[in-house]
């Protein structure tokens, strides 16, 4: 029964991805969030539980697991209990089309659909329903407002998102994520038909940020005005599910971004000496920060850690080049480096920027991003056709 | 560059539509658009001139319509004549446009002015570029229309309205002749393109009397447009329009179109038996020159002086062409365009300062508005043909040709030159010297936007003549020339003579109006009847009044009576009959037709009263009905 095998294989892969996300995405997503926010706000962040507070979020998860499930009276229990599942599942289903890298001569992807990015957007758009359901069913005006806000926001930002993705699809000539990555062997789409590629990337990132409800687009869950918006009423594991969904979605967006614009698992083909130079530069920065008075400035911790990462990378790279084997890094690693760089970027924005007003938000989407995206598509299409 | 020359008329045309539609919302309320178009054209024309000097010519045709077997082609061409005309039109035009910013400032219909001007420029350039009579005629009528619109620009003034009417009607007379001429040519030659026509002439297909007739008919158009005797009466009245209009249309370009037409179709005139047509042209021109000059002497309206001077100068050009001085005529056309535009603009500047046209009220303006004064003096010197200014060279050439071909015309031209110098300096002295005679006016120098174009034009008027200077091998002759009519050689004595005559004119004017040795009043008294004759402009208008207008009116009155009693009577009778018939029909209508209609209405109403209960107004009920209907249909389908 081949179909049974197919299903089993898919389920197995899905489980793998799920565990990865449940651990990395949710727990260490939260951990990263707290650490980075700490750095940016000149705090230390979690540090007591485990080394560097690494076990903090595990503890939190355990705590959440034991908590009681409260279903508000006069709430629509069925919908109330289904909503978190919708969100989480939709967020996890995003990952079906994300290629992690290559190993044993085949691409590590759950399923390489020939409509990959379309599938991704579709799944992302499913989330809205969950949020709306949650907002409505918890019978709480803050939640309802949050739900409505997020619905309007996501609907309006799906269009720029789609436009950004369409740009890539047009340039790559395919919708399959693997195909898109393969199409970037020549060079990242970020630098394709400059500066239009950059514009598309900016569009995509802005829309993605709004799509995952993060600052500066986090109106649906604005703690300060809506007491965390649509999941105000949720407790325990359901709350954790929302968190999982949110972080899964965010990581998914980051992964898609790295696939679309940063060449996915492909390693940037730069000459070796450049790598060495980069590594040394990073090392220099790190050393400077470490041994100068600046080390006390918490704000520079992320730079420090990034620099270390850079050093490691470039050192490995240089070694690899020295021993003349390529690819130097396993493609998986490249993928995660890029993905986490984007994740860091998103968090950075979150802790740097204030929140928009609803009208500003919608204006931005309809009056700026949408025309920009359309013009971008038009120009690129024109250029490609003329170039051909 | 040459191949895309057809864009030159298109630019002002686009400017016209732009200004018409967006008017005040455009930069400078449309002025800048028009000026931009003109300046671009000017640069373009210069480039074209450069290439034409290199000996390059160009021609392009498209089939416009096919009449029976004959295909009417329209197209454009670039040859020396066209190149020169292009430059004259665009350069003078753009300068005048710029000047208009200052002159028309604050006018309620400011954008419309520039729109009309642009339209004029477009038509004029079409006329110049055309390589066939058809397109040329299009441009010809276009400039006529624009002249009508612009003369009547201040149509609140009855005088302006009347003047525009007069100009239009008078030129129409000429245009009619021209149109007949064109048709004649088309019938005999079968094509309207100049090359084809010239071939026909050279091949002898068009020769003898028909040729002369065609040439003269065309010349009729030229007479109308260039205000030659006997159709010159419209030009003086055309001065009712704004001064830039007078400068551009009624001095520099449009009135020169007639001359251009004659020059363009010169072969027709030249080939007519023993130059018959040319002789006519020459004498009409000569007489016009003299007569207009004499009238110009007694005018008191500064612009009318200019107008008559324009007429006489156009007469000079015609004369020049007529006496086989092809180049001389064109040359004078070019120089005249510059210095007459200059004079007009200067006069405009004076009017701008004085708010009146009457010279007797002016005086002593030299101190108040020096720039205007000096530029105007340069223009006057150029006009009265004092070396080295532009007018000298061209006018001298014309006289030269006349001397060689027709002594009578030579003397006429010489007399004309004297009078020209006299009236123009009379105008200068009366306007600028002495003291201000009008207490009300507070003259002031005009803004730079008006004086700078004056200076540029002054520069041109001073120097442009040298392109025809003999000791540089007379380059203009080698550029624009008509090989059959060889230009006569430069003759110092004649040049000296014309100069002396011009100086004499100036001196006389000074004697009368500057030093006042001879008070002008006594002159008037002495001249007695001659003076009245001149003031009455040789009774031309009265003549037309008596010979054309009054008979027409008489016939019209008779016709009106006929109309009232016979035609209206017939119409009314028919009306009566039908009224009677309809009375009868009404009865039938009331009882039969209305009855039927009412019956239908009643039936419908009753039915509706019953059926309306089926109309629940709830869509779902209707949908249900539809569904049931579908079910029935399906059942029917299955059973069958």
């Amino acid at each position: 029964m081949p179909w049974l095998l197919e299903i089993l294989k898919a389920i197995g892969l899905a489980v793998l991805v799920f565990t990865f996300l449940a651990v990395v995405g949710a727990m260490y997503g939260v951990y990263l969030e707290r650490k980075i926010s700490g750095w940016i706000q000149a705090r230390i962040g979690p540090k007591h539980v485990g080394p560097y507070g690494l076990l903090q979020t595990i503890a939190d998860t355990v705590k959440l697991l034991q908590k009681e499930h409260i279903t508000p009276r006069r709430a629509d229990a069925m919908i109330f209990n289904t909503a978190p599942l919708i969100v989480a599942v939709a967020a996890l289903l995003d990952w079906v089309v994300i290629p992690f890298g290559t190993a044993f001569g085949r691409v590590l992807v759950v399923r390489d659909l020939n409509i990959g990015v379309l599938y991704f957007t579709a799944m992302a758009s499913i989330t809205v329903i969950g949020i709306l359901a949650a907002g409505w069913s918890s019978n709480n005006k803050y939640a309802l407002l949050g739900g409505l806000r997020s619905a309007s926001q996501m609907i309006s930002y799906e269009i720029p998102l789609a436009l950004g993705i369409l740009w890539v699809a047009m340039v790559a000539g395919t919708l399959s994520t693997v195909g898109i990555v393969e199409a970037q062997r020549g060079g990242w789409f970020l630098f394709k038909v400059p500066p239009l590629g950059l514009l598309a990337a900016v569009l995509f990132l802005a829309a993605a940020t709004a799509e995952v409800n993060r600052v500066p687009f986090d109106l649906p869950e604005a703690e300060s005005e809506l007491v965390a918006g649509y999941f105000a009423e949720y407790t325990g594991m359901r709350f954790a599910l929302f968190q999982l969904g949110e972080y899964g979605e965010m990581f998914g967006m980051a992964a898609l971004g790295s696939v679309l614009f940063f060449g996915g698992w492909l390693e940037p083909n730069l000459p070796a000496w450049l790598w060495v130079a980069l590594g040394l530069a990073a090392l220099g920065v790190a050393a400077f920060i470490r041994f100068s008075a600046l080390r006390t400035v918490y704000l520079l911790r992320p730079i420090l850690s990034l620099a270390t990462l850079g050093v490691v990378l470039c050192a490995v790279m240089a070694l690899g080049v020295a021993f003349g084997r390529a690819p130097v890094l396993p493609s998986l690693l490249w993928f995660f480096v890029k993905m986490f760089a984007l994740v860091f970027f998103l968090m950075w924005m979150r802790w740097t920027y204030p929140r928009l007003r609803l009208d500003q938000l919608l204006n931005l989407s309809w009056k700026v991003l949408l025309p920009a995206g359309l013009i971008n598509l038009l120009l690129t299409g024109f250029l490609l056709t003329v170039a051909r | 560059m040459l191949a895309s020359a057809w864009l030159i008329p298109v630019l002002p045309f686009l400017a016209f539509w732009l200004i018409v539609f967006f008017g005040r919302r455009l930069p400078g309320e449309g002025a800048y658009v028009a000026i931009g178009a003109m300046v671009v054209d000017a640069l373009w024309s210069m480039a074209i001139l450069g290439q034409a000097l290199g000996g390059r010519t160009y021609e392009a045709n498209v089939v416009w319509a096919v009449m029976g077997g004959r295909s009417v082609q329209i197209g454009y061409q670039i040859d020396p004549l066209t190149a020169v005309m292009l430059n004259v039109v665009t350069i003078v035009g753009s300068l005048i446009f710029i000047y208009s910013i200052g002159y028309m400032h604050g006018d309620p219909r400011y954008p419309r002015f520039f729109a009309y001007m642009s339209l004029f420029a477009a038509s004029m350039l079409t006329l110049v570029l055309a390589n066939n009579l058809l397109l040329l005629y299009v441009g010809w009528e276009g400039v006529g229309l624009c002249s009508y619109l612009l003369i009547g620009f201040w149509f609140e003034r009855p005088a302006a309205a009347r003047a525009s009417m007069k100009a239009f009607v008078t030129t129409r007379v000429g245009d009619l002749f021209m149109f007949i001429g064109i048709l004649l040519i088309f019938l005999t030659v079968g094509s309207l393109g100049f090359p084809a026509i010239f071939e026909a002439v050279e091949g002898g297909a068009l020769a003898g009397a028909p040729l002369t007739l065609a040439a003269l008919l065309l010349f009729g158009g030229a007479v109308g447009k260039s205000a030659q005797i006997p159709l010159h009466v419209w030009l003086p009245d055309a001065m009712e329009g704004p001064t830039p209009v007078s400068a551009l249309i009624h001095a520099a370009t449009m009135v020169a179109a007639g001359v251009y037409l004659v020059a363009r179709s010169y072969l027709l005139f030249f080939a007519s038996p023993d130059h018959g047509a040319l002789t006519v042209v020459a004498y009409v021109g000569g007489l016009t020159a003299l007569m207009a000059a004499t009238i110009g002497v007694v005018q008191t309206d500064i612009k009318r002086v200019m107008a008559y001077s324009t007429i006489s100068q156009l007469g000079y050009m015609m004369m020049g062409l007529g006496v086989l001085g092809y180049t001389a005529g064109i040359f004078h056309l070019m120089t005249h365009a510059f210095f007459k535009a200059l004079l007009f603009l200067a006069a405009g500047s004076v009017i701008h300062a004085m708010h009146t046209n009457e010279m007797p009220e002016m005086g002593g303006l030299a101190r108040v508005m020096p720039r205007t004064y000096w530029t105007m003096v340069i223009g006057a010197l150029a006009l009265s043909g004092i070396p080295p200014f532009a007018g000298f060279w061209s006018k001298d050439e014309i006289l030269l040709e006349a001397f060689h071909h027709d002594r009578v015309l030579f003397w006429i031209g010489l007399a004309g030159a004297f009078i020209t110098a006299f009236y123009v300096f009379r105008m200068i002295f009366v306007t600028f010297s002495g003291r201000l005679r009008s207490a009300a006016a507070h003259p002031h120098e005009s803004p730079a936007v008006m004086t700078v174009p004056l200076m540029v034009l002054a520069g041109f008027s001073a120097l442009i003549g040298f392109v025809g200077a003999p000791w540089w091998g007379n380059p203009f002759h080698h550029f624009v020339s008509f090989e059959a009519a060889e230009g006569a050689a430069f003759d110092p004595t004649l040049a000296l003579l014309s100069t002396v005559v011009g100086l004499a004119g100036i001196f006389t004017a000074a004697a009368v109006y500057y030093w006042r040795w001879i008070p002008s009043a006594s002159l008037r008294a002495a001249a007695g009847p001659l003076y009245t004759l001149l003031v009455r402009k040789y009774y031309w208008d009265e003549f037309y009044q008596w010979a054309v207008v009054r008979p027409l009116l008489w016939i019209a009155r008779r016709l009106r009576i006929f109309d009232i009693y016979v035609i209206d009577g017939a119409v009314n009778a028919v009306g009566m009959i039908f009224v009677g018939l309809t009375r009868l029909y009404r009865i039938f209508d009331l009882y039969v037709v209305d009855g039927a209609v009412n019956l239908v209405g009643w039936v419908t109403k009753t039915l509706g009263a019953v059926l309306r209960y089926g109309q629940t107004g709830a869509p779902q009920n209707y949908l249900l009905a539809i569904a049931l209907g579908v079910i029935l249909l399906v059942i029917g389908g299955i059973i069958r």
């Binding site: - | 629940t616 107004g617 709830a618 949908l623 569904a627």
Partner: protein, 103 residues
Amino acid sequence: MTVGLTHYLVTSSLLFCLGLFGVLTRRNAVAILMGIELMLNAGNINLIAFNRYVAPGAVSGQIFALVIITLAACEAAVGLALVMAAYRSLETIHVDEINLMKW
């Protein structure tokens, strides 16, 4: 036994009739819209199925399905806008209470 064209047609016809039922019986304008959406979906299933089984080579059915989806989106947008307007002016979205222009 393998799945054939008829299976799809059966499903779609059932879906269609459910939609029809909704359209006929609901009094909430939005609910009627939902019924219409169901019917449209049924139609789409038919199109795709026929395309797959009757003319596998062509993509006409899918094209039409896409067009219908687009039109369904338009219809939903306009219809819901109408509902909003009606609700704003009449405080109800129940079609049997909206009878301003009746008789």
